[in-house]
Symmetry: C3
Subunit: 347 residues, 3 copies
């Protein structure tokens, strides 16, 4: 696909400076710019690249003031990063989408299929499953009995969805994720062995949720594990039985949320975060990467760090001292010696 | 499915207080009780809910003494939690199980299939694989050559089992788990590159083992990686080559056990725990979530925490001081100043 | 398969001590030796086993000097461990390899297939995908449109590879790994919700790369996520969008590398390591298990530990004091008391 500066400026409502016929067929980072690529400049740290980039077009913020000659055609927009996001999206939406039902699928006769869906080869759709309009189910997926999937949702290859799961509209679930496996529930019995607690609840995923690759969301013991509208979970996240994650919360890769915990709205967790079972985490909580929350956080918009996690500035101050503990202990020992040699004691 | 209080009391050998014809068709937590649901009360912390719950039936311990009027029908049992577990199990066992060999499977003519098995569509069973009676293999699984699976074992969708793996009876393996992939064995060669050590051992999983979704258990370099009877591993666990995990050990999600380590019996590990390679962990060891064991633990029934993990009460005491390090250092600096200003020195 | 000591000595250019007709059909660790097995002795710690082992043949280093009588036949080689590796490899290469295109595959008519490939049942190869010679694609894989896979590469069951991914020669990708899923890119919009940034870049994996089971490598937002020649990633690793990992770097299980970070060559990371986004990690960096690198490391061959990671000997010294913080604080309190009771103050 090729676009001219003029076409792009129209899509973005931007203002051209330079050749309105400049042609691009590709995106590139400004520091890796090439002829016929379009780049963007949003972070001032990267400004110096704009004077050297070979990209044919660069998106810049309206108020950008060049200090030197620029070879690229500029398109000025209110927010260069958002403009890029829009453009990527337009580009993406122009890509060919798969459609129709491929050969070698297994679709139960009692499944209900929406309009204009795609079901890839080797995908399995169980009894009384309900698939909304425009849903894409890539090859090798398993959609269990009585699962429901809302309109426009995309299920990438190899996703496994257990029975009774409910998934909303406009969701994206990346390859290999597993939704609705049994929660990890065992009751101890006398001889140190455990007996399994049957997990008969389900998983509910609301609208506009995106799950990365190889995410697991376990079904509830009773009731539902719930992922609210707009939640984003990166690859390898684990969500245990009966957890609830509030609207628009974003969790980076490899996080783990133990059973029955309730995460608030608009939280942001870094990578490899852990949340203990049966706790509450208030709206707007921020957890630095590898942090482990072991107790309920009641105050909204708290930022924490560490394992166990404590208030972030407290952690940082303490960690500086941790690095210096050897010096600190040496100082202490010196004081002890001074006091000893001066015969100071408790009388 | 509907049950009366009378039927449930019979299943559980319980004693009814209230309407023996009360009907339930669903389970609910006591705090989320609804008409026609059954709930249970085991934890005294939740006692106040029993006076408000809308659940039609509540399982309670024999010795429960109500302080107010209760609307629900009670069923008294020796242990309300275990009674619930039993009931969930009964309910679960009444659910329709898949059976037969679906179309579009690939079963090698030299594979040996037991009685009353289920093989879902798009599942692959290799040469000389042996599948026991009543085994369920959900869609999209791969059972490699010469794999053996014991009676009553359930393999959920998309599980991949490499050649020569041996799995016992009554096991459950959740979706997407990978058993028998190569161990991570590389020998350094001169030019900083590594040469792969072929991994020609296998994996042995004994009876009554449950593995969560997306678990990996690597095959041994030589010999076997062994998961003993009754082990439970939650989602995303990683077990490296030549590891052995002792009977009834339970490991929460996202744990990692490095190569050749030997974990004892009846251990309990929290989430995201890490175990170093080539070490022993004694029977009954407890590791708090995110703990990392870097050395052999010889004493049985030790509880540890931290990374690297140390004895748990030691960790907790030290961590309190860590939080307060800023204050501690300020105190030290004050002492230094006092001593300096009083001209105390080492002579 | 059976081999005599003579045959093995020829393969390894070794020197026999004992019965050149000794027959082996199996490998065993020296401490688990059995008749007709071959073992090796490389680590002096294990020397005492050689006097008791039942293995028929033991590979030993040229300079090994027995202190007692040995029953096994010895084969002396320059490096017993490397010799074992070679032997395992020879053994492995003699195992039957699958070949041909099985029934029930989905191969787009515009895909280009090399010579002597294997495509297992239920595998999917998209439009304009290019598969090199001798490639093995096990059952249940998904190879998206325009993916290219180099000669001799092995793709184990259930691997999912998104469109436009480029994979080199002689690579191994274990079961369930996901290559090319969307990077985790979201831009905040006014109402605390996020808008997805379309991820239109790709993944490039060079030659001789081995990825464990359930690894994820995300596609770049723009440009490429790049895994250089000789990289080894163990199970459950996560590599985010636009990351680059340098030649021959080895990462143990469950590591996570956040977006746009650049890892140098010949690095070695232990298990469960985390790398922050947008940083550089110099060539030869070593990270102890569970370490979390939060800032760029410029100096080559640094070893670090901890979360956040600091220089390893610094961490170890500080950690010893951390364990003893309770004693340290008590000492400090004693000094405070002495000073107070001696009426020392700042004037």
């Amino acid at each position: 696909m090729e676009f001219t500066a003029k076409q792009i400026a129209e899509i973005l409502n931007g203002k051209i400076e330079g050749d309105e016929n400049a042609i691009v067929n590709n995106f590139a980072k400004i520091e890796e710019g090439k002829p016929n690529a379009i780049s963007f400049l949003a972070n001032p740290k990267y400004t110096h690249y704009i004077y050297e980039t070979e990209s044919s077009i660069v998106l810049v913020n309206e108020d950008f003031e060049p200090q030197k000659k620029i070879n690229s055609t500029l398109i000025r927009v209110p927010d260069a990063y958002k403009a890029l996001a829009k453009l990527l999206d337009v580009y993406n939406s122009m890509m060919e989408k798969p459609n129709g039902i491929e050969k070698n699928t297994h679709i139960h006769k009692k499944a209900k299929l929406g309009k204009d869906i795609y079901v890839g080869a080797f995908s399995y759709i169980g009894k009384e499953a309900v698939i909304g309009d425009n849903v894409l189910i890539y090859p090798g997926c398993y959609i269990g009995n009585n699962v429901s999937i809302g309109d426009n949702t995309i299920i990438y290859p190899g996703v496994k969805i257990y029975y009774n799961t409910i998934i909303g509209k406009n969701c994206v679930i990346h390859a290999g994720s597993v939704i609705g496996a049994d929660g990890f529930g065992f009751a101890p019995v006398q001889d140190d062995a455990f007996v399994k607690i049957a997990q008969i609840g389900n998983v509910i995923i609301e609208d506009n949720v995106e799950l990365g690759a190889l995410v697991t969301i376990d079904r509830a013991t009773m009731g539902s594990t719930i992922i609210r509208t707009g939640v984003r979970l990166d690859n390898h996240n684990h969500v245990a039985h009966n957890v609830e994650i509030g609207r628009n919360t974003v969790i980076a890769a490899q996080g783990g949320i133990a059973g029955s915990s309730k995460i608030g709205e608009n939280c942001m967790f870094g990578g490899q975060v852990g949340i203990a079972p049966h706790i509450l985490v208030a709206n707007g909580t921020k957890v630095a990467a590898t942090g482990a929350i072991s107790n309920t956080i009641k105050t909204e918009n708290t930022a924490v760090m560490g394992a166990p996690a404590i208030e972030i500035s407290n952690f940082r101050r303490s960690f500086i001292h941790f690095r210096n503990l050897d010096k600190i202990v040496k100082k202490l020992e010196k004081l002890e010696k001074i006091i000893e040699e001066n015969n100071l004691t408790i009388e």
